[in-house]
Amino acid sequence: MKLTKLLATAAVALGLASTAMADDKTKVGFVFVGPVGDGGWTYEHNKGRLAVEEKFGDKVETVFVESVPEGPDAERVMTQMALDGADLIFTTSFGYMDPTINVAKKFPKVKFEHATGYKQAPNVSVYSARFYEGRAVQGHIAGQMTKSNVIGYIGSYPIPEVIRGINSAFVHARAVNPDVQFKIIWAYTWFDPAKEADAAKVLIEQGADVILQHTDSTAPQAAAQAAGNVVTFGQASDMSEYAPFPRVSSIIDDWAPYYIARTQAVMDGSWESANTWHGIGDGMVGIGEISDAVPAEIKASALQLKAKLASGEYHAFTGPLNKQDGSAWLADGETADDGTLAGMGFYVEGLEGDVPQ
């Protein structure tokens, strides 16, 4: 009895001491959906975290929890982080949206940043990258690289971000190759190498010779490499270990500048709830080096497209574009507004199959 009491007191004292010590440091928490070694999405977020540490050194302390399932478990992890004295918490997957809002209500003094979502609150910012601009470049290359005119697409979950990517890639593949077709598989996971490999193999068996992925692991790259004549693109991270072939280019997410800026804002006390959506122009979306497996003229036109997207001269969704059912969406020359893009739940004309509801 006495011993437990003693231990409990010690623990409380220790807890107090550590909170007191944490106070002069800004504590930044990260909640990751996959492992930091996934080589894709979470890997890049973790690079952003390391950049924050490097930039601020002793003034900042970062903590992270990896492979947190989207759901109640995420809420528990965030609550724990907030209780442990985190000042700023980045929740880096779409499925953390409601948990983030719920936890943020309980901790009004803690700042939250939710990636790829659309629900804001006084202490919850949302941020995302315009990945669809990268998808446009990808579609442009893919449409010209395919010989079978079948492009396989591994989707994760049917959420606006992923649907935007499919539409953007398709529009730009069709623009350079009117015969191109997309075969889409929904994996219903962000990270499951075995399932992603199976999906890639199935697409290849059904005639696809270009595989685009919106899942986080490098497994589809390995499957394409085994098949021998299939082109892939790095997703979220450069995945350059599969270059120059099958990986011919990639979309790279660069979160570091944003994470540093937001941490700085918390330190200065200037943090405000914001909605950030940056693209190629702001450097949040990068296009990985286009390898020599791509013919020079295709590479040149892809880089030109990238430059136009970066300068804002061209929007990835520029009319005339119809929805899948044939109804008009964008008139000639009209560009999509951010509101429509943020909630995009429909395919453009020419894509087959239905968006799962």
Partner: protein
């Protein structure tokens, strides 16, 4: 919708590949549970096997050595479980869960230097003429050796449990460890051997994913297959052939649903995505309506004094 895009021969061939890791892990766990021990650490042993096998085969250039290392790795990790539950008499559920968490962390640590490395390829069976036969060739005679080993192991476990003295002792230990002890069998020894066997099988299953099915190393790459293996053993009522059936059914529907999606079949994707789980459970539940139940001493701690 274009069903002609689905090639049934390739479909069957790839379902066998998809089912093998699950089959290996589940057969190992079946033997463990038959001996009266519930080891929830399958996922952890699989992932440790996956990285141990991957690392060794990359370093030595030999896939075979990698597979052996995977079995050793899985068995070594299960040693920890055996020590905790058989000698320290710890709770099996808690120890098993701890083993999974430990295995996931340990494998991430071991795998630091292996992200993005390509393992040496495993040779597939290639018998002249026979492997080139239409239909039969790709389905039965063109796989990697581990796949055949999985089927062989199922048969061997079935035979050993049903017809041999070792199997009888193992089952006796699992059904009633006090009676087995009274008859003079060494309960702890039998269980430790069973646990090691389960660990080796799980390790091999893990290495099958990292060396043959994917093939690459990424953290957490077993992604829950160990848990499915655990469930499969229960739904298969602890019968080896039903485990095989369940694993093939699960793998098959998994591959089939991906094929149907790619072919643009009009069934909502959500139903397709959950179909492997639902159909496997339904079929095995229907089959397990006979009176077989769990081994009597499953999950109970044995000590000679009690």
């Amino acid at each position: 919708m274009d069903l002609s895009a689905i090639n049934p021969v390739l479909l069957i061939a790839s379902l066998m590949v998809a089912a093998t890791p699950l089959l290996l892990a589940a057969i190992g766990e079946l033997v463990v549970e038959k001996s009266g021990v519930l080891n929830l650490g399958v996922e952890g042993m699989m992932i440790v096997g996956a990285i141990a096998g991957f690392a060794v085969s990359v370093e030595t250039g030999s896939p075979l050595l990698g597979l052996i290392a995977a079995m050793i790795g899985g068995a070594l990790l299960s040693c920890l479980f055996a020590f905790l539950t058989q000698f320290a008499l710890a709770n099996q559920v808690a120890s098993g869960l701890a083993l999974t968490l430990f295995g996931l962390g340990l494998s991430a640590l071991m795998g630091q230097g292996y992200v993005g490395v390509k393992p040496p390829a495993m040779a597939t069976l290639d018998i002249p003429v026979i492997s080139d036969l239409p239909v039969i060739g790709p389905i039965f005679f063109s796989h990697d050796p581990v796949l055949y080993f999985g089927v062989f192991l199922t048969a061997a476990v079935w035979y050993a449990l049903k017809f041999t003295r070792i199997g009888l002792v193992l089952r006796a230990t699992g059904e009633n460890h006090d009676a087995a002890h009274a008859l003079g069998y060494h309960v702890i020894r039998v269980r430790v051997i069973a646990i090691l066997f389960g660990g080796a099988c799980a390790g091999l299953g893990g290495a099958y994913i990292s060396l043959i099915r994917v093939p690459q190393w990424t953290e957490g790459m077993t992604a829950g297959i160990g848990w499915i293996a655990l469930a499969l053993v229960v739904f298969a009522s602890w019968k080896p052939w039903r485990v095989l059936l369940g694993a093939y059914l699960f793998g098959g529907i998994n591959v089939l649903q991906l094929n149907l999606q790619a072919a643009g079949v009009a069934i909502p994707v959500e139903y397709l995505a959950m179909s492997p789980y639902v159909i496997t459970i339904v079929v095995l539940v229907i089959m397990s309506r006979d009176k077989t139940s769990a081994p009597g001493s499953l999950g109970r701690i044995f000590h000679a004094s009690s």
